[in-house]
Subunit: 253 residues, 2 copies
């Protein structure tokens, strides 16, 4: 059996037990455990491999506001929608202060990619597109509780961001603090978002069935992140099987 | 640039030119070109690797009637819906003659998998689930013309089926003709389906824009099939990076 069955809850968990079960899923399945992440922050990747990561990850960044707007459209009150609108502002910016998408484009340019080439998403891996689109569809098609729970990977992101930034700065002399400016605001935004979502989930998952749905939603989201690194590993690390039409380091631009 | 731009049509193609452009996409991008397919029909895979293929591919087989029903729901006339209903009958059977899904379960059992374990889909790769679900969503969300065009990989399936069957029978003494009975009806069903879809596409793609959408739909569908083999290759061939919760050969059952 896959570990999918491991975290099953037969009885109603206390809110604290539910949080512990959620954190256990993160400890086991968050993409900080993926070999591609370790290669990235250990400085073991070539510039072309880091470019492939930045080019593909842009599609995830650019899709997050679509995901959040899809979720916000299902929230019943102004209070709830305001909470979620803040996330969209974080990613889209306010027209003056650059948002997460703009900051990610700066990161992509900082590692040597052409901005329009990244924005086109024409050369991303099908694995990236399918995983990211699955996240948007999940938030549209599942219960609101599952949709909110799928955002809980933010609970684990401060650690991976700290690892990425320190590792990349220490190991790649062609990457500057300025290039990694994307990550700085996320260190405060992500915890604010995940604290709210965790409280919402602990408050609303009031049956064993809902709690299992919440745990499954977080496993799903971990899969969305993990399989993006799987695709990058296969295509750009080993065995280097780049799918037809996908980004080839050193070509084009 | 990715080859995504290669087949772009600036002017209106003749129906024959459009068919040639579609067949060119198949020649370049159909999963018969994937190293995992070659390993499979050359008999280079272990029984556990063939099991992983059968277990994952089941999710694709089981989702095809959902894809076809989604498409059929959008067809405007009884004549068109009857044409598409035949495809669903081919996969679901008529209650007496087993359909494609039942025959695939026989194949999975024939390579040593437990039927209920396969049907649960609990241990498939996220890459499989995301790619297959992307196909169902594509058929729901795109134009009817694009939805029909995305089925045109059937144009290329008789060749890959012949390679699979002959290669697997010749190279795996634990695979019998009976185990591969899934494929026999497909050799006549697939051409009937693709002849109809090809005629429909050649008839309805009457602007350069529609023709480009049709070509893009076939490229998308090739990506859906290709990325399923990418996932299997990464997890079960090299580097053997099995995602958390996915099927592990020799475990469970």
């Amino acid at each position: 059996m896959g570990t999918a069955a491991m975290d099953r809850t037969e009885r109603l968990l206390s809110p604290e037990e539910l949080e512990a079960a959620l954190r256990k899923i993160g400890a086991e399945r968050y993409h900080s455990n993926h070999p591609f992440h370790r290669l990235l922050h250990d400085g073991k990747l070539t510039r072309g491999q880091v470019q492939a990561w930045a080019l593909n990850r842009y599609y995830y960044q650019a899709s997050i506001p679509a995901k959040d707007a899809t979720l916000m459209a299902r929230l019943p009150t102004p209070e709830l929608r305001r909470e979620w609108r803040r996330r969209i502002e974080d990613h889209d910016g306010d027209g003056v202060k650059p948002g997460g998408i703009e900051r990610w484009l700066k990161l992509a340019e900082g590692v040597g990619l052409d901005r329009a080439r990244v924005e086109s998403t024409a050369e991303i891996l099908p694995a990236t597109r399918f995983a990211v689109d699955a996240y948007v569809h999940f938030v549209r098609d599942r219960t609101l509780l599952e949709a909110v729970a799928s955002s809980l990977t933010e609970l684990f992101s401060p650690t991976i961001i700290a690892e990425r930034v320190s590792g990349m700065l220490a190991n790649y002399d062609w990457i500057t603090q300025d290039t990694l400016a994307y990550f700085t605001p996320r260190l405060t935004q992500a915890p604010k978002d995940s604290d709210w979502a965790l409280a919402y989930v602990k408050d609303h998952a009031d049956t064993a069935e809902k709690q299992e749905a919440v745990l499954a939603a977080l496993r799903f989201k971990c899969d969305v992140l993990w399989s993006q690194l799987d695709g990058l590993y296969l295509a750009y690390v080993a065995p280097g099987l780049i799918p037809p039409g996908a980004f080839v380091p050193g070509e084009g631009a």
